[in-house]
């Protein structure tokens, strides 16, 4: 016999689809099938069942081999490492639930850590831009129900957020959008002819790294001012045309991704895109939204927001919170040798940081809390495998539009495995014992 669990929330990307169906064995120990998920989401659920999964903490030995240790030993090592460091970096926090993030905050306060999440290499620059200019935005349902102009700028949902287009942006039929995609004009700005660009009405194949210029040109076009003949590889006639298309919509939405946050200009690219959105509100209704990557990177920013006041790169080392990307951000800290220990949870900097930063982690005392075997676990001194959030334990997560959804547990974790939250609580307890508070 099997059971089907409905309304399951997918813990892969910021789309946070909550309509998955998962079939599990009657005893709730085996996950058998996944429905409604994209290929990546399905893989995430199924991988939890891998036979070769690491289920116990392990410590790297002098000779390079791993030695299995207990969770208690792992918690003790972690607590000592954090308590001994003058300025530890506690990084990640995106592939986990808000409950674990909250415990992490308490540890960070106790040890004076710098808390940084994966936004630092993802939408951190968007957050900087929002601090400079704000962000007119909306929930994804507003897009589904109202939007008739959809602009994807430097993002490729066909690959990175596979169900985004069908659930929210291009294809769904909503209250005021009964014609679905035929009632919408889709514009893609990307230096490649991406699979998303292929379903668009208009593709502006921008010269890579010239987003700021093209966004500025759109603003000039809105105001009817003169443009140079070509901006960012796009002829001015096309720019005027796209400006008109956007202005003539009833509800325009701009989705943007790493193409702008990681290209030269970074926060300024987003700043200009938000300025375009602000401008459009003079003529019609417009909103803009970052395509957040990890399923709960948004939640990490929210939790730190209400606890410390900053969404990422929070430096607690002096006993109070400080924030300045460029100084308190992981890659700057590592590059400049500003931290003396690294704790990673819910992320894989070993795979996703520039190698010059990865190497710095390797040279420092380090712990990785991570269900998978990854380049990060490969270079850390201690690897603590944990249950998969959203599969083997529930908890709160925030979608890319900041909507909080409670993820579900669908199957038991392998016998004896801890969750992120449980492990962090034991670390917190040890930290308090060591510090005598």
């Amino acid at each position: 016999m099997t059971k089907t669990i409905t309304d399951v929330v997918c813990p892969f990307c910021g789309t946070l689809c909550d309509d998955l169906e998962v079939v599990v064995s009657d005893d709730g120990k085996k996950l058998l099938e996944v429905y409604n998920a994209c290929a990546i989401g399905a893989e995430k659920f199924l991988h939890s069942q891998a036979k070769d999964r690491i289920t116990r903490p392990r410590m790297r030995q002098e000779d390079g081999s791993w030695k299995e240790i207990s969770y208690d030993e792992a918690a003790d090592y972690t607590a000592r490492m954090l308590a001994d460091a003058k300025k530890p970096l506690m990084y990640g926090w995106s592939s986990t639930n808000c409950e674990a993030q909250s415990v992490g905050s308490e540890i960070g306060e106790a040890v004076g850590a710098v808390m940084d999440n994966t936004a630092t290499v993802c939408h951190g620059t968007s957050l900087i831009a929002v601090q400079d200019i704000g962000i007119p935005s909306c929930t994804l349902g507003e897009v589904k129900n109202r939007a008739d102009r959809i602009l994807f700028w430097g993002c490729n949902p066909a690959h990175a957020h596979p169900r985004h287009m069908s659930r929210y942006s291009i294809f769904p039929r909503g209250f005021f959008t009964g014609k679905g995609h035929t009632g919408r004009k889709v514009i893609v700005v990307d230096p490649r002819v991406t699979d998303t660009a292929r379903v668009a009405d208009v593709h502006l194949q921008i010269e890579q790294g010239h987003d700021y210029e093209l966004l500025d040109a759109l603003r000039v076009a809105f105001k009817g001012e003169q443009l140079p003949d070509v901006v960012a590889g796009i002829p001015k006639a096309k720019i005027y045309e796209v400006a008109e298309t956007l202005k003539s919509g009833r509800f325009a939405i701009i989705f943007f991704g790493m193409g702008v946050t990681q290209s030269i200009g970074k926060n300024h690219n987003i700043d200009a895109a938000i300025a375009v959105t602000r401008d459009l509100n003079e003529y019609t209704k417009a909103a803009i939204m970052p395509m957040r990557g990890h399923y709960n990177v948004t939640g990490s920013g929210q939790v730190w927001g209400w606890q410390f006041g900053f969404p990422f790169a929070v430096d607690l080392s002096r006993g109070f919170a400080r924030y300045n990307p460029g100084e308190t951000t992981s890659n700057d800290l590592l590059r400049r040798d500003e931290v003396d220990a690294v704790f990673v949870l819910g992320s894989d900097p070993g795979a996703h940081f520039p190698f010059s930063s990865v190497r710095k982690i390797y040279d420092l005392p380090s712990v990785a809390v991570e269900p998978h075997e990854t380049p990060t676990t490969e270079i850390c001194k201690v690897h603590v495998p944990v249950a998969f959030v959203g599969v083997e334990v529930g908890g709160c997560a925030y979608r890319m539009d900041n909507v909080p959804i409670e993820t579900r547990k669908v199957v038991d974790a392998p016998e004896g495995m801890m969750t992120d939250e449980e492990f962090l609580k034991s670390v917190l307890m040890r930290v308090r014992e060591i510090k005598g508070v």
Binding site: T120, G350, P375
Partner: protein, 133 residues
């Protein structure tokens, strides 16, 4: 024969699926240990599809398999899916924003037929130990 192209990185669905299936597995290398080149650039490089190449920037060097771009044409632009291979060579300059310049790194691509594409764990491990060529 080496060519110069502008390197960008990012997600692909294969990168996502293989990452969730396990970065220690060969499928991850197949998905991310590649560089997508435009046919025009292949021509300039004078190489067949699926040839191993060395990609070098001011910041490092890595061996990946050159494949034909699936989301082109984009002559002059090359694509390595996000992951440790791309990160050996991207521009780490954050311009004091925290964000490395993952997209828009000028790189040189040259044929390196006999050199192997390392798996992700080995690549990072060897890199950290200074064991890479």
């Amino acid at each position: 024969m080496a060519i110069r192209v502008n390197l960008i990185t990012g997600r692909t669905i294969q990168q996502g699926v293989s990452m969730e299936a396990g970065k220690e597995k060969p499928a991850y290398t197949t998905a991310c240990g590649i560089i997508e080149l435009d046919p025009a650039d292949f021509k300039k490089l004078g190489a067949f599809r699926n040839t191993n190449v060395r990609v070098t920037s001011n910041y490092g060097s890595v061996i990946v398999k050159a494949v034909e771009a699936t989301q082109g044409p984009h002559p002059g632009v090359a694509y390595i899916p996000m992951g440790p291979w791309a990160n050996m060579i991207v521009n780490p300059n954050t311009y004091s924003t925290g964000m490395p310049t993952f997209k828009g790194t000028p790189v040189e691509v040259e044929v390196a037929k006999s050199e192997p594409v390392l798996g992700s764990l080995e690549l990072v491990r060897k890199g950290c130990r200074g064991e890479l060529a």
